[in-house]
C-alpha cells in the first residue's frame, strides 16, 4: 500500500482526538477514539460479540449465495435472448427501483420473523444487482468473438459456454462486488428492523437505545471494517480470475 493512502485516515483520526480531547462535541455523541478502541478490544472477550459477527456473516453469505444462484443464470438468459430481455426488462427495472426497506413488511408477512425473511430480503436485493450486471455483460460482449467461434463451426452451446459466458465475466464480477456491499447494508438493516436478538445491526441498534455510545461506535467501526475487507478480498480475487479485464 502506498504511504500516501494513510495520510487521510491519520488526519481524520487526529481530528477526532483533538475534537474529543478539547470536548468540542458533547462526549455523549462523540467519545474519544481511545475509548472506542478499548471497548472494541473488550468486546473481543465476549462470546456474544462473535455470535453477532457470525450471524451477520451467515445471513450475508446465505442471501448472497441465493442471489448468485438466481441472478447469474437469469442474467445470462436475459442477456442472450433478445426476446426474453424485451419481455422482462421493464419488470426488472421496476423491481430494482423499489426501495428494499419498503419490502420488509411484505417479506415479514411472507417468511415470518425468523432467518428466512432476512435471507430472502438480502437475496432479493443482491440477485437483482447480479442479474443486471450479468445481463449487460452478455449484451455488451464483443460480437466479433462470437462470430469467430461461429466461423469455426462451434455449436450454439459451445458459443454460449466458450465465448458468451467468459465475455460476460468481468461485468458479472463487478455485479457480485456491488451486490456484496449492498448485501451487507441490507443484512444490517434487516437486523435493525425485522427483529432479531443476534447480529451486528442489532448490536448497533441496542447500544444506541441504551446510550452506550462507545459500544455503538465500536460496532459501527467493525461493520465498516467487515464490508471494507470483503470488498478488498473480492477485488484481489477479481484481479486474479478476470486478469484480462480492461486490457
Amino acid at each position: 500500500m502506498k504511504r500516501s493512502k494513510l495520510v487521510a485516515p491519520l488526519l481524520f483520526l487526529l481530528l477526532w482526538v483533538l475534537i474529543s480531547s478539547f470536548s468540542l462535541v458533547n462526549p455523549l455523541f462523540l467519545p474519544s477514539p481511545f475509548r472506542v478502541v478499548l471497548v472494541l478490544l473488550q468486546s473481543f472477550a465476549s462470546a456474544e460479540f462473535f455470535q453477532d459477527i457470525g450471524m451477520t456473516l451467515f445471513r450475508l453469505a446465505a442471501g448472497f449465495a441465493l442471489g448468485m444462484v438466481l441472478g447469474i443464470p437469469l442474467g445470462l438468459f436475459m442477456g442472450y435472448y433478445q426476446r426474453v430481455y424485451e419481455y422482462l426488462d421493464f419488470l426488472v427495472d421496476f423491481f430494482r427501483s423499489i426501495p428494499v426497506a419498503s419490502l420488509f413488511p411484505l417479506f415479514l408477512v411472507m417468511f415470518g420473523i425468523g432467518e428466512l425473511s432476512k435471507i430472502a430480503t438480502t437475496a432479493w436485493s443482491t440477485s437483482l444487482i447480479i442479474l443486471i450486471n450479468t445481463m449487460y455483460g452478455v449484451r455488451n460482449g464483443k460480437k466479433l468473438r462470437i462470430m469467430v467461434a461461429k466461423t469455426m463451426k462451434a455449436s450454439e452451446y459451445q458459443v454460449f459456454v466458450k465465448a458468451i459466458v467468459p465475455e460476460a465475466l468481468p461485468e458479472t464480477f463487478t455485479g457480485l462486488r456491488t451486490a456484496l456491499s449492498i448485501g451487507l447494508i441490507v443484512v444490517v438493516l434487516t437486523e435493525m428492523l425485522m427483529g432479531t436478538k443476534i447480529g451486528l445491526g442489532q448490536r448497533i441498534f441496542n447500544a444506541s437505545l441504551m446510550y452506550q455510545v462507545p459500544e455503538m461506535y465500536a460496532a459501527i467501526f467493525l461493520t465498516g471494517l467487515l464490508g471494507f475487507s470483503l470488498n478488498k478480498v473480492f477485488v484481489v480475487i477479481g484481479n486474479r480470475v478476470i486478469h484480462w479485464a480492461g486490457k
Binding site: L144, A154, W244
Partner: protein, 258 residues
C-alpha cells in the same frame, strides 16, 4: 479444378429511416472463379463492398441473388478460416496464446494435451515463434495477429479469408507479417481470399488481383501477377511490379474517375 465458384452475386442492404425504406446496393452481379491454392486479393475504394463480398463468400451473409460454391458445397458447409482486421477482438483474452491458437481443436473436443501438442507441431513446422504462455494483451499487435493466422491454419480450412488483416499494424510489422504470410502459404498452399486497401500489398501478395468498382462493387478487371514465388520485398521495385501497378491504377481511374 475450380475450387470456389461465385456466380451472379448481388446483395443489397435495406434500412428504414422514419418509415421510409432505403436500399443500398453493395454487390452487383459479381462472377469469379478461384483455383485451389490460389492467392486472390481484392482491391477497391473504401466502403465499396469488399468486406460484404468476403462475408457472403464465407457464408456469414446470405446473397440476395446468385450463389457461392466451394468444392460444390455452399459456404456454410465448407471450412472457412476467417482472419479479421481487429485481432484484439477476435482473440479470446482469457486464453493464453497457445490455447487461442488451439481453439478450433477445443471445439472439436480434442483433449487439452493433444491440442497443445498439435499446436506446437504446427508452430514449429511453420517456423513461427509465439509466446505460448502469455496472454494476447501481453503480446504485440503483430504477435496477436500471427496467433489469429495460425489459429485459422490449425482449423485446416478449405479457404482462408482475410479482411484487411494487417491494417491495424505499424508499417514495419506489416512488412514482417506479409513475409510471414507468404512463407506460411508457400509451405501449406492454401486458397486465400484477401481484401486490402493498399494497392502495393494487394499486388505483392497475389496470384490474381481483383479490382472492384466503387459501390455497388462489381469487378472492373482481374489482373494476373506473374512475378515468381517465393516473393521478397525488393520485387516491389521491379519493372513488372511497377507496370502492374500502373495498369491497375489506370483501370481504376477509368472506372471510378480518380
Amino acid at each position: 479444378m475450380q475450387h470456389i465458384v461465385i456466380r451472379n452475386l448481388s446483395k443489397r442492404y435495406t434500412h428504414s429511416v422514419d418509415g421510409e425504406v432505403h436500399y443500398i446496393d453493395v454487390l452487383d452481379n459479381v462472377n469469379l472463379q478461384v483455383m485451389k491454392g490460389e492467392f486472390v486479393t481484392f482491391f477497391g475504394p473504401n466502403g465499396c463492398g469488399k468486406s460484404t463480398l468476403l462475408n457472403v463468400t464465407a457464408g456469414l451473409l446470405k446473397p440476395d441473388t446468385g450463389s457461392v460454391m466451394i468444392d460444390g458445397k455452399p459456404p456454410e458447409k465448407a471450412r472457412i478460416g476467417y482472419i479479421f482486421q481487429n485481432y484484439r477482438d477476435s482473440l479470446f483474452p482469457w486464453k493464453k496464446n497457445i490455447d487461442n491458437i488451439a481453439f478450433p481443436l477445443e471445439l472439436q473436443k480434442v483433449s487439452r494435451k493433444e491440442r497443445r501438442k498439435r499446436t506446437r507441431d504446427l508452430l514449429s513446422r511453420l517456423e513461427i515463434e509465439i509466446q505460448e504462455d502469455m496472454y494476447p494483451y501481453q503480446s504485440s499487435g503483430g504477435q496477436q495477429q500471427l496467433s489469429a493466422i495460425v489459429r485459422a491454419f490449425i482449423y485446416e480450412p478449405d479457404v482462408l479469408v482475410m479482411d484487411e488483416p494487417f491494417n491495424s499494424l505499424d508499417y514495419q510489422t506489416r512488412f514482417f507479417m506479409q513475409g510471414k504470410l507468404l512463407d506460411i502459404c508457400a509451405r501449406t498452399s492454401p486458397t486465400v481470399l484477401f481484401v486490402s486497401h493498399e494497392l502495393d500489398e494487394a499486388i505483392y501478395l497475389a496470384d490474381r488481383i481483383v479490382l472492384l468498382d466503387k459501390r455497388p462493387a462489381k469487378i472492373i478487371s482481374i489482373l494476373e501477377n506473374i512475378l515468381p514465388r517465393p516473393r521478397y520485398h525488393a520485387m516491389v521495385e521491379t519493372k513488372e511490379f511497377f507496370d502492374l501497378k500502373t495498369k491497375a491504377l489506370r483501370l481504376l481511374k477509368e472506372a471510378i474517375g480518380l
